[in-house]
Amino acid sequence: MNIKHNIPLIVGLALPILLILGIVAAIYLPSFFVKPSVNFVYAIGNYPRYCEALEEDRYTQHMYAIKEGQLTETTQTVAGGCYPGESTAPQFYLYDLATDTSKELSLPDLKNLTLNPNQASPDGFKVTYGREGGAIIPFIFFTETDYNSVFISGNNISRRLKVEGGNNRSPYGQYTFNFVGWVVE
């Protein structure tokens, strides 16, 4: 094979391959040097509020908020209807980044934790939904938020998290993932 004569062919085939290798390097190399270390609390379900039906036209609204580092719950009676999908209390979990596991927390457990509700952690990471895409025709791609995948991203790395709650999520409702706060040590 005459290499000199086939340089355009070799370069033409090499360009896409180099791009693919570059993407693999961009995804996996940074994770060897930078790792997120601050654990966080998340809720699955109706957070920060859910309702509890009292009568046909009245319900109790439960609201969660972080005040001075503590997760607090307040209630108030509201006129109107409480929809079944909004009437389930959320479940809280502590995500351990070192082991990629979640531990369920009760409200008393949460009182022992100091939480930082900022979107970004002290070491520069955020917890976000992933993106999913499809292609009806090749080359015509579309992407949208994927509520079934949760990532921790920042400092040029992105890692998929194994959160609880199943694979049937939507942006609201009883299976929704909600970030609550970073655990302050």
Binding site: P8, I20, P138
Partner: protein, 332 residues
Amino acid sequence: MDQKAEALQYVASLGQDQRVTENELLTAFRQGRGELGQGDKSKRLSLPNILYGIGGAIVFLGIAVLVSQNWPAFTPLTRIGITLGGSLVAYLTGVMFSQYQKLDAMSQAFYLISALVAPLGLSVAFYEGGYNLGIAEVQSVISGLLLALYLASYLAFRKNIFLLFSIIFGSWFYFALTNALIGGRPIFDELKFYEYRVLIMGLAYLLLGYSFLTTSRRVLTSWLYSIGSIAALGAALALGGWTPNQNLFWEAIFPGVSLGVVFLSLPLKSRAFLIFGSIYLMVYILKITAEYFSNTLGWPVALMIAGFALIAVGYSTWHLNAKFKTVAVSAS
């Protein structure tokens, strides 16, 4: 002086007067040695070939409509049989016909049917196997299988139709695989990522088209040049962005890139380069005018400047095209 010395002296005089190019000399030399294939002339589009192509496309349409209209009535095995089985039967029929020189052109029609139905057949098979066709991983596997099949077919039979579909399925695989690698990670800017991939694909097409120029695969060159220049120039223009989020590097180099493409049309004898280079240069002029001058000079004055610039580009294009024709006439 013997014949060989006379011929070489004549070639030297042609080169000195620039009446023939290096590429033309090499092409003639290879034709004489039979490297470009005696059947090259038969590969040009004739009426029977066009009808074979149209017939093949209509057969594919018929299969797709048959399956979609009777989807609930067909069992999974029937659906796979009609689509994937149909593609396999068409492929084998093409192989059989290509054994006879008189039926070689017709075999192309069956290869076309097979190539058009194969993605449908594999998609139906994966769907019936319970896989989600919308996710990038499944798309990668389907396109990867098709790429492997058609590349192997090209290496075995050396038919340009297999190479054409290898390029098409390879491009699909390239996009699907890179989407699968990203895996929904939010750190990638999706639009920029898409633009860079299209740019790389366009450049690859242009280089492939150039490498095929002096070979039996040159029938694909004009197609690769057209798609490649549309993709590469379109991506380069899109990477420039729009104020206030513009990318100054891409906006600054784009006129040089598109003018370079226009001027390359002469040595490469590519009308696609001339046409698309000019069109994108005109689009760039309109874009820059609207982006930077419509608020300062006012729309009417900005439009006048853009209009004169377009007239200048149009005249240059016509002038280059005329030069193109002169070069083509003198070469023949």
